[in-house]
Symmetry: C2
Subunit: 226 residues, 2 copies
């Protein structure tokens, strides 16, 4: 009798999970592609700490293992980490100027942890939710950077074939939300606002991109309903 | 009367400072090259935590500003971070095999923080003590990796001209110590042992490379005198 081969295990992936629309949609996408995901949630002293709660909630909801990495960038002069710097409100969207919410090297650091974890658990992929609207402002969301980082990290590890997967890279916020709706993302549980008070401020870049995208789709943002 | 230009300020550098022979010699080298250095000392749960004390001591002695970054790699299966994994002792040195003390992506993460700090303080250089004996075993000490990382990081930041300086890269431990002696490095205050007990174990790779190098120079390791 022929020996039946065991069904192959799921492919493994590391997901950088912030708790916002992009990273949560990326997690749901990875699951739809049959990846077994392990998430990394970063607590880097961001003022919008509610996103950490959202990320944990989503990880539990989707039965995704996660690591919470606490690390600070005490030197970073960004309005995302300094409470005495205002988050810009009502600025013209999509200007292609690096905004004050830029955190020097944030994705470089996050991806470094992602590759370290991927090598340790033998995952072949590191997923992140970087996309076109971000890389107009954040240099560490550019495809060129992601390609260069993948080359660099693989040349510095035992494993040499870990790839970065950025499934949203060319999508607009509206396209991302449409994709998330198809994947069953519970958008009411995601958190985007940079200001980080009890309710979304509705005026920072992150709120406004989100509201505009839902409006374009003829919907009300589910996070604003309750 | 011609307006006299202000003398230009010192060049700024970020130094990844572990407290061992290599990084301390690198710091002294940077000082000899007239860099104003800011160090990053990493507490990543290493069992040889005494190196953190050495790094702080050296930073204070040399009046070097430093940031202590506390961050863990909870997933890393390395004998440098797990107390239940033995550090290899008396193994054949320089085998070119990746040792158990390998920490997945450690230099990738450390360099990421280095670039983040460098951009924030407008430093042009990130110094680290990687060298030839390490890259026989640790892939993230290879020149190819360092070049690739520099390209990647610059493509992901606002600043695009931060360079990695690894002044020891082609030197043997003996040559590094000779260089350190010329620079006035207080080797008795450096810490190398991976085991991290009260005194050096004398048998781990790190102890043995060090002892052998001092012996080759006809000296006793100053850290063993007291």
């Amino acid at each position: 009798m022929a020996v039946r081969r065991q069904p192959k295990g799921k492919k493994k992936a590391v997901i950088l999970l912030s708790g916002g629309i992009d990273s949560v949609t990326t997690l749901y996408f990875a699951k739809s592609q049959n990846y077994k995901s392990t998430a990394i949630i970063f607590d880097y002293g961001q003022r919008h700490r509610r996103e950490i709660d959202s990320a944990k909630y989503i990880a539990k909801l989707t039965k995704t293992d996660y690591y919470l990495i606490r690390s600070s960038f005490p030197w970073v002069n960004s309005s995302l980490t300094k409470n005495n710097l205002m988050v810009a409100k009502n600025r013209k969207l999509g200007q292609g100027v690096i905004p004050l919410t830029y955190v020097s090297g944030r994705n470089i650091i996050f991806l470094s942890y992602g590759f370290s974890l991927a090598e340790s658990i033998k995952a072949q992929s590191v997923f992140l939710g970087a996309h076109v609207q971000d890389y107009s402002g954040y240099p560490d969301c550019r495809p060129e950077f992601l390609n260069n980082f993948q080359t660099a990290a693989n040349s510095g590890m035992k494993s040499t074939k870990i790839r970065i997967v950025a499934p949203l890279i060319n999508k607009s916020k509206r396209e991302i939300i449409r994709m998330g709706l198809d994947l069953g993302v519970p958008f009411e549980k995601t958190w985007s606002c940079y200001v980080g008070e009890r309710r979304p401020c509705l005026r920072c870049d992150s709120c406004r991109f989100r509201i505009q995208a839902f409006t374009d789709l003829g919907m009300k943002d589910p996070a604003l309903k309750s």
